[in-house]
C-alpha cells in the first residue's frame, strides 16, 4: 500500500503537467473541430475530410512517409550491420556522426537540402528542387539514424551462436540470415520502422521548407489552415485524423516492443573484422555517410561564399539586427534565447522523464496495476507523434483563461519543447531501469539497506550516464524544435530556428546568406552536444 502511494506521488506531477500542457490543449483543438459558431457539429468534420485538398494532403502524407520509411530501413539495415557487428577504424566515430542528423533542427535540414538541390547547387542537375523527391531525401536524412540505432542495438546484442549453429548444420549465409537472424531482428525493425513512419508523417519543418506551397502534408496543412486561412475547423479535423492514426501506430509499436526489448538483456557480441563478403554492407554505409555529409558540407560552403568569393560576411551579420527591421533581435541574441529555453526544457523533461520512467518500470503485482502502468507509458509517448503544430496552437487557444492564462509566459516555449523531448527521455531511461535486475535491490534490502540507500547503491551508478545522455539528447532536440515553438515564441524573443525560418521567407541574398550562417551555427551546437553525448555509450539512446 505504501509502495503504491509512493508511486502515485511520483506520477502525480508528470500527469498533471501532461494534462494541463498537452491533453487540454490538444483536446481543445479537437473540440474546436466539432463546433461551428459555438454549436455542436460533428458532421462538419466529415465535410472537411471530404474536401479535395484535405484528401490530397492525407494521401501525400501517407505515400511520402511510407516511401521514406522503406528507404530508411533499406539503407539503415546494412549500415546497422556494418557499424554494430564489424570493427574497423573510424567505426565508432561514424556511429556517432550518423546520429547527428536526427537531432539537427528540421529547419536547418530544410535549408541544407535546398542549398544542395537548387539550380546551380552540387546536386542541382538532378532536378529534385521543389519536388517530393527532395522531401523524401530530407525525411530519410533525418530518420535513418533511428533505424541504425534501434536495429544496431538489437543486432549487437544478438547471440552469435544460433547463427553459428545454423551454419554448422549446413546453412549458407543468406539462409542463416533469413531463418535465424531476421526472426530475431524483426521486432526491432518493425518497431523502428513504425517510429520512423510517425516522425515522417508529423514532419513539419522539412515539408514546409522543401515543399513550399505546392506540396503539403497533413502537418503543414494544419499549419496553413490555422495561420493563413484561419480555418480552425479544418485544422482540427486534420488534427483528429492525425491523432487517431498516431494512437493506432503507438499501440502497435508498444506491442511490438514488448515482444522483444533488445536493450533489456544484452550480451554484446565481439565485433569482427570485415570480410570480403561484407563489402555490400560497407558500400551502403559509405553511401549513407556521403548522403549525410553532402547537404551539411554544402550548407557550410554556402555560408562562406558571398558573390562568388570566400567571405565571412554572412557570419558578421549574425551580430546585427538586420537591415530591414525584419529581425527584432540579432541572430546571436536569439541563439542565447534558444540555449536558455533549451536548458529549461531539458531540466523539465529530465525531471518528468525520470519520474515517469521510475513509475512505468516498477514491477507491479496485479493485472489492473500493470494495465494502469501500460496506459501511462503510452500516454507519455503521445507527444512523439502528435503534431507539434497542434500542440503549439492548442496551447495558444486553450491557455487563455485564468488561472491558466500562460500564453504570454516566457516559459511556455520551454514547456512545449520539454513535452516534445519527453518521449525521447523516457525511451532512453526506461530500458536501462528495466535492465536492472530487481534481485539486486532485493539483495541490498536483505543486507539492511533502506529504499534511499538501495537507490543510491543499485540504481544511481547505473543511471548516471543514461541520465546525462538523455539530458544532452533533450537539450539538442529542444534547441532545434520548430513546430510548437513557431506558434509560441514571442516576437521579441524568437529562438534561432524561428529566426532562420523568418530569414528564409525574405528575399535577398543577404537574408539567405545570414540564414545559412545561422543554420551552420545551430547545426554545430547540436552536433557538438550529440557527439559528446554519444561518448557516454548508452545503448538505448536514439533507439525506440
Amino acid at each position: 500500500m505504501r509502495r503504491r502511494a509512493a508511486l502515485a506521488g511520483l506520477a502525480v506531477v508528470p500527469v498533471a503537467v501532461l494534462l494541463v500542457f498537452f491533453v487540454v490543449p490538444v483536446s481543445g483543438m479537437v473540440e474546436r473541430g466539432f463546433r461551428t459558431d459555438g454549436h455542436w457539429d460533428p458532421v462538419g468534420v466529415l465535410d472537411v475530410l471530404g474536401r479535395d485538398y484535405v484528401r490530397r494532403a492525407i494521401w501525400f502524407t501517407v505515400w511520402t512517409s511510407a516511401s521514406a520509411t522503406a528507404i530508411s530501413v533499406a539503407l539503415g539495415l546494412p549500415a546497422a550491420y556494418a557499424l554494430y557487428r564489424l570493427t574497423f577504424p573510424g567505426g565508432r566515430l561514424l556511429r556517432a556522426a550518423l546520429l547527428v542528423p536526427f537531432v539537427l533542427p528540421t529547419v536547418v535540414v530544410g535549408v541544407a537540402f535546398r542549398e544542395l538541390l537548387r539550380a546551380g547547387g552540387p546536386l542541382g542537375f538532378l532536378g529534385l528542387d521543389g519536388t517530393p523527391g527532395a522531401i523524401l531525401a530530407g525525411m530519410v536524412f533525418f530518420n535513418v539514424a533511428v533505424v541504425i540505432r534501434a536495429v544496431g542495438a538489437a543486432w549487437e546484442s544478438l547471440d552469435r551462436r544460433p547463427a553459428e549453429a545454423a551454419a554448422a548444420l549446413g546453412a549458407p549465409p543468406f539462409r542463416v540470415f533469413r531463418t535465424v537472424t531476421w526472426p530475431a531482428l524483426r521486432p526491432a525493425v518493425i518497431s523502428s520502422a513504425s517510429v520512423v513512419f510517425l516522425f515522417c508523417a508529423s514532419a513539419f519543418g522539412i515539408v514546409l521548407t522543401l515543399g513550399g506551397l505546392r506540396y503539403s502534408s497533413v502537418e503543414t496543412q494544419i499549419y496553413l489552415l490555422t495561420t493563413d486561412l484561419l480555418d480552425l475547423q479544418g485544422a482540427s479535423a486534420l488534427s483528429i485524423v492525425q491523432l487517431l492514426a498516431v494512437t493506432v501506430l503507438l499501440v502497435l509499436a508498444a506491442r511490438l516492443r514488448r515482444v522483444a526489448d533488445p536493450t533489456a538483456a544484452r550480451s554484446v557480441a565481439r565485433p569482427r573484422r570485415p570480410l570480403v563478403s561484407d563489402a555490400p554492407a560497407l558500400a551502403v554505409t559509405a553511401l549513407l555517410v556521403v548522403l549525410v555529409a553532402l547537404p551539411l558540407a554544402t550548407l557550410l560552403v554556402g555560408s562562406l561564399r558571398v558573390d562568388g568569393g570566400w567571405s565571412l560576411a554572412d557570419y558578421h551579420r549574425l551580430a546585427s539586427p538586420g537591415a530591414d527591421d525584419l529581425l527584432v533581435v540579432p541572430v546571436l541574441q536569439s541563439l542565447w534565447i534558444s540555449l536558455r529555453t533549451a536548458l529549461g526544457a531539458m531540466a523539465l523533461s529530465l525531471t518528468l522523464g525520470l519520474s515517469i520512467s521510475l513509475v512505468v518500470t516498477r514491477r507491479m503485482g496485479t493485472r489492473g496495476e500493470r494495465r494502469v502502468l501500460a496506459v501511462l507509458d503510452g500516454l507519455f509517448m503521445l507527444p512523439l507523434g502528435v503534431s507539434a503544430v497542434t500542440l503549439g496552437f492548442g496551447l495558444l487557444v486553450t491557455l487563455d483563461r485564468a488561472p491558466f492564462d500562460f500564453r504570454s509566459a516566457p516559459w511556455l516555449v520551454a514547456v512545449a519543447q520539454a513535452l516534445v523531448a519527453l518521449p525521447l527521455v523516457v525511451r532512453t531511461l526506461a530500458p536501462v531501469l528495466l535492465g536492472i535486475d530487481d534481485r539486486q535491490r532485493q539483495a541490498a534490502a536483505s543486507l539492511g539497506a533502506g529504499p534511499l540507500r538501495r537507490a543510491l547503491v543499485v540504481d544511481v551508478p547505473v543511471m548516471a550516464r543514461p541520465l546525462l545522455a538523455a539530458a544532452g539528447f533533450a537539450f539538442a532536440t529542444s534547441l532545434g524544435e520548430f513546430g510548437a515553438t513557431s506558434f509560441l515564441a514571442r516576437p521579441e524573443s524568437p529562438t534561432l530556428p524561428v529566426v532562420i525560418y523568418r530569414l528564409l521567407g525574405r528575399p535577398g541574398a543577404d537574408n539567405y546568406g545570414t540564414a545559412l550562417a545561422a543554420s551552420v551555427v545551430l547545426a554545430a551546437v547540436t552536433a557538438l552536444v550529440v557527439l559528446l553525448v554519444d561518448r557516454l555509450r548508452v545503448p538505448s539512446l536514439g533507439a525506440f
Binding site: R161, E164, A165, A167, A168, L169, G170, V180, P183
Partner: protein
C-alpha cells in the same frame, strides 16, 4: 578421417592454442579433455571453421582451409543446444533436411526416425521452450544427426544438465553414436563422461596437448558399476 597438424588459434594476436596435432579415425569418438580455459572448445570451433586457425586441418587428406563452415559437412552441437526458439521441435530437426531440399514426406519420416532415436517420439509439435534441459539436448542431438555429418562436433553437450541426467544421457549418447556409426569429437571436462562416450582421449592444458591415448585400457582398470548411470533423484 580428420587430421590436425600444427594447428594454432590466436585471439587479437595472443596465441590461445599452440601447435596441436590430432587424428580421428572414421567411426571413432575422440574426447577432448581439459580444464576450463584450456582451449578445447576453441579447437572444436576451429575444426568447424568458426575460428580462423593456422596450421593444417584436413579431412581424408584434403585441406579444409578456405572451406566455410556450412560446406564442411560437419555438425556442431552447442553446450546449450542452440535450438531455434521460433521453430517447433520437428522444424528444428528438419532444418538441415530442408537445406538439402528433401521432399516433405521423406522429411517427415526422417524426423520421426531421428526423434525416435533420441527417445522423443511424439514431441515434434512442441516448442523448445516447453521442453526440459535434457529433452532440449536430445533434440539438438537429433538435429545434428539429421545432417548425417561426416564428423559430429559436440561442445560440452551434457554439461548444463544435472549429474544424474548427465550420466544417463552419456550412456544414451554412446548408444546413439554407435548405432549411427558417427565419427565424433566430444569436448568435455568430465572424465567419467569421456570414459562412457569416447574411444580415445586427448588432454589439453593451456592450449597444448599434454597426453593422448586409448580409453579402453583405462576402462578395464575401473571397478564394476562405477560408470553406471547415477540414480535419479525423486522430483
Amino acid at each position: 578421417m580428420l587430421m590436425l597438424k600444427g594447428v594454432g588459434v590466436a585471439y587479437e594476436g595472443r596465441p590461445f592454442v599452440h601447435d596441436l596435432d590430432l587424428e580421428v579415425a572414421d567411426g571413432e569418438v575422440l574426447a577432448l579433455l581439459g580444464p576450463s580455459g584450456s582451449g578445447k572448445s576453441t579447437v572444436l570451433r576451429a575444426i568447424a571453421g568458426l575460428e580462423p586457425a593456422t596450421g593444417a586441418i584436413a579431412w581424408d587428406g584434403r585441406s579444409l582451409a578456405g572451406v566455410p563452415t556450412h560446406r564442411r559437412g560437419f555438425a556442431l552441437m552447442f553446450q546449450d543446444g542452440q535450438l531455434f526458439p521460433h521453430l517447433t521441435v520437428a522444424a528444428n530437426v528438419a532444418y538441415p533436411l530442408r537445406l538439402r531440399g528433401m521432399g516433405r514426406n521423406a522429411r517427415r519420416s526422417r524426423v520421426d526416425e531421428l526423434l525416435e532415436l533420441v527417445g522423443l517420439a511424439g514431441y515434434g509439435d512442441r516448442l523448445p521452450a516447453t521442453l526440459s534441459g535434457g529433452q532440449r539436448q536430445r533434440v539438438a542431438l537429433a538435429r545434428a544427426l539429421a545432417v548425417e555429418p561426416r564428423l559430429l562436433l559436440l561442445d560440452e553437450p551434457l554439461s548444463a544438465l544435472d549429474a544424474a541426467l548427465r550420466s544417463r544421457l552419456a550412456h544414451d549418447l554412446r548408444a546413439i553414436l554407435t548405432e549411427s556409426r558417427t565419427t565424433a569429437v566430444l569436448v568435455t571436462h568430465d572424465q567419467r563422461e569421456a570414459l562412457v562416450v569416447a574411444d580415445r582421449f586427448a588432454l589439453l592444458d593451456d592450449g597444448r596437448l599434454v597426453r593422448a591415448g586409448d580409453l579402453a585400457p583405462i576402462r578395464a582398470t575401473i571397478p564394476d558399476g562405477y560408470l553406471d548411470p547415477l540414480p535419479e533423484l525423486e522430483q
